[in-house]
């Protein structure tokens, strides 16, 4: 049953066909078998998971029922989890045991989910391959010589390899969608402000957003139902009623207007991905959708603007790691400045230091206008492009990533790694919601399709994704190695 969706496990739990303890144990066994190779988890919470599963079974016996009660999940190690190691993939926090829970964690706990463990990630969520983690690379379950994508690579790999039923992730420039595409799972970045950022370790505060990684759009909707909603502890959290995201999944797509940005089908897109997304658009036409080209004129500037905004905000956010109140401290500092500098140089990895320096430079005296302010203006142009497109279409569809996963160690140059997120970054700059769903397989590796929606139109995106998944089975495809390890059909 470990390869089932949350919706299926939930039904089996409700029917009494399986207990939460049984399914939790099955995932723990699976993690014990495969995590050594995949390195998807930094921490596995075996004892507390079984206790939580037992409590969920007891609650059910006492008449409680809710869709996620007793469902085993994994949290990206960026979410603070009370009394559990929370590392953010960094040496800086390699022994940090959080004294409190993130709001996202608290909400899943309240829904009765079972925490299996914390997933590996790029250090401080800075990376597109999971290779910047202090805890080692995560391997792609489809082919362990390839990256799982990043930064939520551990969560995506864990869902793809059936190490959990569902997982949380965060997305600042594509960190949910790109690993979802590379690992063949469904991932969604909600609208900025939809999900509380409280207790989610900050990278770039005006871009960061938490979201689900799951085996289907329906599962993502079930997760979003729990994650979303106003949190007074996050001043950017939106005060807006949370709808039931599963309610409109089955709405027919007849007459829906799908925008296809010509800029996302230009030079640099691999032929396999182009063909897969085109085939999906044909499928949508069969379902009654109207396909229309849209123009996102300034999308080629999104990577440039992002690499000012995100590092600038990161340089401010990460100034808190000074070796004083928590986290790593260097040995035998000779004075305060030496302590700061060596703590930070030894505690942070190369990529994090690089981004702190870019951000520090962009914000330093004399350069603010040319960099940060300029980037904010570009950000306005990008948002305006989307606003214009959305007067003509209901959703925008294109590839999530230009190609399938690349080999571990094959991209040593940061600029080429940054360009990996060429189709996803603009969405964060504009604060829009977007999902990635599996759309095909090429050379034994999955490909993803991005569905972008209007502000707070997550339900529409999930509806569009779900309808595709009702008529195709790309989301059900598994790596042959994973199917063999399942020892089941």
């Amino acid at each position: 049953m470990i390869n089932s969706t949350v919706a299926e496990i939930s039904a089996a739990l409700a029917a009494g066909d399986i207990s939460s303890v049984e399914i939790t144990q099955a995932y723990l066994d699976r993690i014990a078998t495969l995590n050594g190779e995949l390195n998807a988890f930094i921490t596995v919470c075996e004892d507390s998971a079984l206790l939580a599963a037992k409590a969920a079974d007891e609650a059910r016996a006492n008449g409680l029922d809710s869709p996620l009660l007793g469902i085993p999940l994994a949290h990206k190690d960026i979410f603070c989890t009370k009394d559990i190691l929370t590392t953010c993939g960094s040496r800086m926090l390699h022994d940090f045991v959080s004294p409190y829970n993130a709001t996202v964690v608290e909400r899943f706990n309240d829904a009765g989910t079972v925490l299996l463990g914390k997933t590996n990630m790029d250090e401080f969520a800075m990376g597109s391959s999971n290779e910047t983690s202090f805890f080692g690379d995560v391997k792609n379950p489809w082919n362990t010589e390839y990256v799982p994508g990043g930064s939520s690579g551990g969560s995506a790999a864990a869902v793809a390899a059936d190490l959990c039923a569902m997982a949380t992730g965060t997305d600042t420039g594509g960190s949910i969608r790109q690993p979802a595409a590379f690992c063949g799972v469904t991932g969604m970045k909600p609208s900025y402000g939809r999900v509380s950022r409280w207790g989610m370790i900050a990278f770039a505060s005006s871009l960061d957003q938490a979201g689900p990684l799951a085996k289907s759009a329906e599962d993502a909707a079930l997760m979003l139902n729990v994650m979303s909603g106003l949190d007074k502890k996050d001043s950017t959290s939106i005060d807006r009623p949370v709808e039931d995201f599963t309610a409109s999944l089955n709405q027919p797509l007849k007459g829906i207007r799908i925008g296809v940005p010509k800029q996302h089908f230009a030079e640099g897109l691999s032929r396999e991905v182009e063909q897969a997304v085109s085939a999906a658009l044909t499928e949508y036409e069969k379902l009654g959708a109207i396909i229309k080209e849209v123009d996102l004129t300034n999308s080629h500037l999104s990577v440039s603007a992002y690499y000012v905004v995100a590092p600038a905000e990161a340089s401010a956010n990460l100034s808190r790691y000074d070796g004083v109140r928590y986290g790593y401290r260097c040995e035998d500092p000779v004075n305060l400045e030496d302590m700061y500098k060596r703590t930070r140089s030894e505690g942070f990895g190369e990529e994090v230091k690089r981004r702190i320096m870019i951000g520090t430079y962009a914000l330093s005296a004399g350069f603010y206008e040319a960099y940060y302010r300029k980037a904010q203006k570009i950000r306005r142009l990008i948002k305006d492009d989307f606003d214009r497109a959305f007067t003509e279409v209901d959703v925008i569809i294109g590839p999530t990533s230009p190609h399938t996963a690349f080999k571990l160690g094959s991209k040593s140059d940061p600029v080429s790694m940054y360009l990996e997120d060429i189709y996803t970054i603009a969405v964060n700059l504009a604060g829009l919601p977007a999902a990635s769903i599996p759309v095909g397989i090429a050379n034994g590796l999955p490909m993803g399709m991005q569905i972008i929606g209007k502000y707070f139109d997550e339900a529409k995106i999930l509806n569009v994704a779900h309808q595709f998944q009702q008529h195709t089975d790309w989301h059900k495809q598994k790596s042959p190695a994973i199917t063999a390890a399942n020892g089941e059909s």
């Binding site: 940090f96 045991v97 004294p99 900025y192 402000g193 005006s206 007074k232 001043s235 950017t236 939106i238 005060d239 080629h300 500037l301 990577v303 440039s304 603007a305 690499y307 000012v308 340089s315 000074d322 070796g323 004083v324 109140r325 928590y326 986290g327 790593y328 401290r329 000779v334 004075n335 305060l336 030496d338 700061y340 500098k341 140089s345 942070f348 230091k353 690089r354 702190i356 320096m357 870019i358 520090t360 430079y361 330093s364 040319a370 302010r373 300029k374 980037a375 904010q376 203006k377 570009i378 950000r379 306005r380 142009l381 948002k383 940061p414 600029v415 940054y418 700059l429 604060g431 829009l432």
Partner: protein, 95 residues
């Protein structure tokens, strides 16, 4: 814009990072490459464009000035690399 070694050392100091002599060359090259990527945005005229600080133009929410958190001083201080008598310990600042 190409950076030189002195500028990189200055940025590192502002960011309170230590860069060893052997790393300086590579760090300078990498950062120069990234700035070249960033500088692509300089090609667009944005004089008439209003900067966007936040995707949704929202007003900061306020709350009553009341203590809502419980005092966890001892628990939080256990996380510190060094503390004594309820204080955080750092290297001597003043002689």
């Amino acid at each position: 814009m190409a950076l030189d070694k002195t500028e990189v050392e200055k940025i590192a100091h502002l960011a309170r990072l230590h860069i060893s002599e052997s790393e300086t060359h590579e760090v300078t090259t990498r950062i120069t490459d990234i700035l070249a990527l960033i500088d692509q945005m300089q090609s667009v005229d944005t004089d008439a464009v209003e900067p966007l600080a936040h995707p949704l133009d929202l007003v900061q929410r306020l709350r009553a000035d009341k203590i809502t958190e419980e005092n966890q001083r001892d628990k939080l201080q256990q996380l510190a690399p060094a503390s004594e008598d309820g204080l955080y310990l750092v290297p001597k600042v003043l002689d």
